[in-house]
């Protein structure tokens, strides 16, 4: 059974573009060998790190969405761990979370449609309808502390 994973790795800033692409082909090679596929690759380019990692202050971020088995991800994880060029990496399983998100989304739209029909409105929102935006957004009140904070 195949699962969907997201892999993000941070390549050392000393690495050349060729080395980054080579790393990508390496990952791809492992994936192909073990019956997985790469659905998407994104290169975020050079970014500042939020903190220093082994005296590096920048890094090249690469994101790969991989469809494959757990063993495959284990192998990729192991390989990235021993690669000195990669200063950080993270593997996250995304298929389950994504299905939950999709389910809540469809449920929400269904509920709103049902309610609208019950109120005798067309099921979808018409343009120019609904609440006019509130002039003040209350997002900033996160920082005014209540009395219980003292």
């Amino acid at each position: 059974m195949n699962r969907k994973y997201e892999l993000v790795y941070v390549v050392s800033p000393d690495a050349t573009d060729e080395q980054v692409t080579e790393l990508h082909t390496q990952v791809e090679g492992i994936a192909q060998r073990m019956g997985g596929t790469i659905d998407k690759t994104e290169n975020w380019g050079r970014r500042r790190l939020a903190y220093e990692i082994g005296r590096h202050k920048e890094g090249t971020y690469v994101l790969e969405v991989i469809d494959g088995s757990g063993e495959l991800m284990k192998e990729i994880d192991r390989r990235l761990k021993v690669t000195d060029l990669v200063i950080r990496h993270l593997v996250v399983r995304v298929d389950e979370v994504q299905s939950v998100i999709d389910r809540t989304r469809t449920r929400r739209s269904e509920v709103s449609r049902r309610r609208r029909v019950a109120r005798g409105l067309p099921p979808d929102r018409q343009p120019g309808e609904g609440q006019r935006g509130e002039p003040d957004d209350d997002r900033d009140d996160r920082f005014d502390m209540g009395e219980d904070m003292r």
């Binding site: 993000v8 939020a50 903190y51 950080r88 993270l90």
Partner: protein, 104 residues
């Protein structure tokens, strides 16, 4: 205003906090109006954000103020479910150095 309060002694209407009188008087120098607090709403429920993703630093940054600690629920008003998701997202983003663990 302050003087008036003093003459009435402990009768500060509805304050309900006797013990801290002495300590509080200094603070009351700046005139105290009745506490008005806006109702806190979970940002993620209100904006219908289903996916709290670790890659989306723009979304996460408001929840890690200067000290880079995660903003507690009692201040942000985030609901329990979303605070939980927020926490995992922040912790993942921290691992990838997208968000700091601490500010120096």
């Amino acid at each position: 205003m302050n003087g008036g309060r003093k003459s009435f002694g402990g009768g500060g209407g509805g304050r309900g906090r006797g013990g801290a009188q002495g300590a509080q008087q200094g603070k009351d120098g700046q005139q105290r109006r009745p506490m008005f607090r806006r109702r806190k709403v979970c940002k993620f429920c209100a904006d219908k954000i289903d996916d709290i993703n670790y890659k989306d630093t723009r979304l996460l940054m408001p929840f890690v103020p200067e000290r880079a600690k995660i903003l507690p629920r009692r201040i942000s008003g985030t609901c329990a479910m979303h605070q939980r998701k927020l926490r995992t997202a922040i912790m993942r983003a921290r691992q990838l150095a997208l968000i700091p663990y601490t500010a120096e």
